[in-house]
């Protein structure tokens, strides 16, 4: 009796043990595969977004808006690196699945894009628009990304800018009858007690205690829609590209001179290149502005224009 009991018990224990191991391995495997699948979908979405943003960037349009709809509530994370070469921007997607945020941790990097947004934008729908940045020649198209859940109210906007925002037809940007709506982010040009204050004379954008500086409308929008860290990092990346473009224009000036057409801006280009080299933050943009204006003026009046 005792022997039989021992025999059955051993078989059962052995079977349960092995069965348990197989079952555990199967559950673990399924979990792992589903996590890989989620990561794959996130990476694909991030690459797709990058591709969509590419379609925004053509040469001569002034400002254009597109709408991105994602399958689930998501966070589009913007990661900017300004070191090494031209720096890079990383896009990653966190998805809200089973009542929690699932982060893929995979960044899709682009060296040739300049994305301005908060650290992350949250929602299912997103708007993106682009505007060319010229300093004094065209450097890049800047991309501004906002969530459809975040609405901006522009108060006291200069007429030209108001027209431009209205022409974008972006449903989360308002220029009229929105001042009293407290759920909206108030962007003020004439008042100071707002979420975002724009100083057109001092060329600054203030959010609470943080202040950044801009030059031109493209960087002004960039400062409004992005966090300070992202903005400063992207400005440095833009200046890295401006420096390389300056070198290309210096070389072009010499080639044009060889065919006998002097462009008269070579000295200013050399000065501009050395000034860009010492830029540390957006605060230094004002110093560069002087040389940039001189260059623009010189090129506009040159016999052979470089740009």
């Amino acid at each position: 009796m005792k022997k039989g009991f021992l025999d059955i018990s051993f078989s059962w224990i052995f079977a349960i043990l092995i069965g348990g191991i197989i079952l555990f391995a199967a559950i673990y495997g399924v979990g792992k595969v589903s996590r890989i699948q989620e990561t794959k979908v996130s990476a694909e979405t991030a690459t797709d977004i990058g591709g969509l943003l590419s379609s925004l960037e053509t040469s001569i349009e002034s400002a254009k808006s597109i709408y991105l709809k994602l399958p689930v509530e998501s966070r589009i994370r913007n990661k900017c690196d300004s070191y090494e070469g031209f720096g890079r921007v990383g896009i990653s997607i966190d998805e809200y699945i089973k009542n929690q945020w699932a982060s893929s941790g995979i960044n899709v990097y682009f060296e040739n894009k300049y994305l301005f947004s908060s650290d992350y934008e949250e929602g299912r729908g997103f708007y993106a628009f682009t505007k060319p940045f010229e300093f004094p020649f065209k450097v890049a198209n800047l991309i501004y990304l906002t969530s459809e859940d975040e609405e901006y109210c522009f108060v006291g906007t200069p007429l030209k800018m108001q027209k431009e925002i209205d022409e974008l037809n972006q449903p989360n940007l308002f220029t009229e009858n929105c001042e009293k709506n407290t759920s909206m982010i108030q962007v003020c040009f004439t008042k100071t007690n707002c979420d975002i204050v724009v100083g057109l004379t001092g060329k600054y954008v203030r959010k609470g205690t943080e202040q950044v500086y801009f030059d031109g409308d493209a960087l002004m929008y960039a400062a409004i829609f992005s966090d300070k860290d992202i903005y400063e990092c992207e400005v440095l990346r833009l200046m890295q590209r401006t420096k390389e473009l300056t070198k290309i224009y210096e070389d072009k000036a010499l080639r044009v001179k060889e065919v006998g057409c002097n462009s008269d801006v070579l000295t200013d280009l050399n000065l501009f290149e050395s000034e860009i080299g010492v830029l540390n933050s957006s605060k230094d943009l004002a110093q560069l502005k002087l040389t940039s204006d001189t260059l623009k003026n010189g090129n506009d009046h040159a016999k052979c224009k470089l740009w």
Binding site: K3, D7, S11, F14, A15, I18, I22, A25, A26, G29, V33, I36, Q37, K40, E44, T47, D48, G50, G51, S54, S55, E57, T58, S59, I60, G85, F86, E111, N112, F137, K138, V139, A140, R241, E244, L245, K247, I248, Y249, D251, K252, R255, V256, V259, G260, C261, K303, C304, K305, L306, W307
Partner: protein, 180 residues
């Protein structure tokens, strides 16, 4: 005698079970490998599709990017107009742009007016260098990997020329080819 028999029976049972476990393990490993290879092949094909889609978008964007575009130097701003002087300068600083556009290979090939000698890519006289510029047919802006898929777009290739002391804009038809 009974003890020996029951011991043998037990051994056979354990052997059977061991065989079963080994078979089951091999079966699950094979199923897992099959599932993994299937999902990986899907990943590769979707990456290739996304790469091609992006390349199609980027090649049209490339001609209008500040490093290539004519901007206002040949009259009004033009779309798909490449500044020959600028891309020649870009060629000399191309090492910095190696990873900038996600393309390993960027090439501009003059189509009209064409030179018959330059149909053969190996003719080194046709490839643009500082010595033969601008009388050349093929400009290799980035020359990394010569294998891969091609995507191309037609562009006008413009530069300044002088004739008897006067300057004019000379534009030729060219093809901008990228390889990814």
């Amino acid at each position: 005698m009974r003890n020996v028999n029951s011991g043998k029976k037990g051994q056979v049972k354990i052997q059977q079970m061991a065989f079963m476990i080994v078979t089951l393990t091999i079966f699950f490993i094979l199923v897992g490998l099959f599932a993994l290879s299937y999902s990986y092949s899907g990943l590769k094909s979707s990456k290739a599709a996304l790469d091609e889609k992006n390349a199609m978008l980027l090649v049209s964007k490339l001609a209008n990017s500040p490093e290539f575009s004519c901007e206002g130097s040949f009259g009004n701003e033009k779309v798909s107009c490449v500044d020959f002087d600028k891309v020649m300068s870009l060629k000399s600083s191309s090492s910095k742009y190696e990873t900038f556009w996600d393309f390993k290979d960027i090439e501009i090939r003059k189509i009209y007016p064409s030179t018959n000698d330059c149909d053969n890519e190996k003719n080194i006289k046709c490839v643009c260098t500082e010595q033969n510029y601008p009388n050349c047919q093929i400009l290799k802006v980035l020359s990394g990997n010569s294998t891969g898929n091609d995507v191309s777009t037609f562009v006008s290739l413009c530069r300044k020329e002088s004739f008897h002391g006067t300057f004019y804009d000379k534009c030729e038809l060219a093809k901008l080819i990228v390889r990814f």
